[in-house]
Amino acid sequence: MPSQNEVFEKVQSVLCEALGVDEDEVSPEATLVGDLGAESIDFLDIVFRLEKAFDIKISRGELFPEDVLTSTDYVANGKVTETGIAELRKRMPFVNLDNFAKNPNVKDFGTLLTVQDMVRFVETKLPK
């Protein structure tokens, strides 16, 4: 299994190619949407490049759980409910949801993912 640093470097180069950003902008703490300017279509591109770079398969919804965020079971008045947060934690253990859980506006969810989350996500997909 590659070291965390090796994974980070590959993720970094994937994000540089997909988003046209410089390497030094892609710090572990940078958020994909807020800091690196990723838009929804970019996720399609990023997923493909990650699959190719790491030889893994990523299903739709793994990086962006649209089904949870649009379900009345998990969302009320534009906010993710406690059950919803629990479901998100289960589905996306690679994301730190503590801050989001304090004020879980659905519309803010898209801005959560950081570069470090992507690295953790990739690591969960690599053979142990």
């Binding site: 190619e17 970019d42 399609l44 493909f48």
Partner: protein, 179 residues
């Protein structure tokens, strides 16, 4: 599609690769404005031609049942200006075709010189009334024939490419209706 920026398909391998050519001529009006006294084929229109070559490649794979639109150019590099008399050759190769979108890598050549290198991401639009009126399948019937796709096209198994059943049916309906 009424806005056609390729002249003919030279190769068409379903779901894999397509090659189209574009002849650049001073008879094209836009070259007289771009630029007065120095006609240059706009790189934006070279991009459009490449997107059409790759877009038809992706669309055909889905038998034109998905609405394929240009969504993003992760890469677009142009090496020299293209002038009247040049023939551009757009070579597009599928990187992936998924449910929600696709990507092709493309190279444009003039003779044996690489003029442009692009990556083109397409999205598949959802089916709503607005997109329905934007994508009339009848446009594809005529465009594909006009561009010679079925003269050179091959399916993935190597057999000859034929019109998607849905389009054939539509064509018959149009004939019957006298349009």
């Amino acid at each position: 599609m009424r806005w056609i920026w390729i002249d003919r398909f030279e190769e068409f391998e379903s779901g894999k690769r397509a090659v189209a050519i574009k002849n650049v001529s001073l008879a094209e009006e836009h070259l007289h404005d771009h630029f007065p006294g120095r006609p240059v084929m706009p790189n934006s229109l070279i991009t459009e031609g490449i997107a059409q070559t790759g877009g038809l490649l992706v669309g055909e794979y889905h038998a034109f049942e998905k609405k394929v639109v240009l969504a993003k150019l992760p890469k677009a590099v142009f090496h020299f200006p293209v002038v009247p008399g040049d023939t551009l050759r757009y070579e597009t190769t599928v990187d992936y075709i998924k449910d929600d979108g696709a990507m092709v890598t493309a190279v444009a050549r003039v003779g044996d010189k690489v003029q442009a290198e692009l990556e083109v991401v397409f999205a598949h639009l959802s089916d709503d009334d607005r997109t329905k009126s934007l994508f009339e399948p009848k446009n594809f019937v005529f465009t594909l024939k006009l561009l010679g796709v079925f003269d050179v096209g091959r399916k993935q198994d190597g057999s000859r490419l034929t019109e998607p059943a849905g389009l054939l049916k539509l064509e018959e309906e149009l004939k019957a209706a006298g349009t």
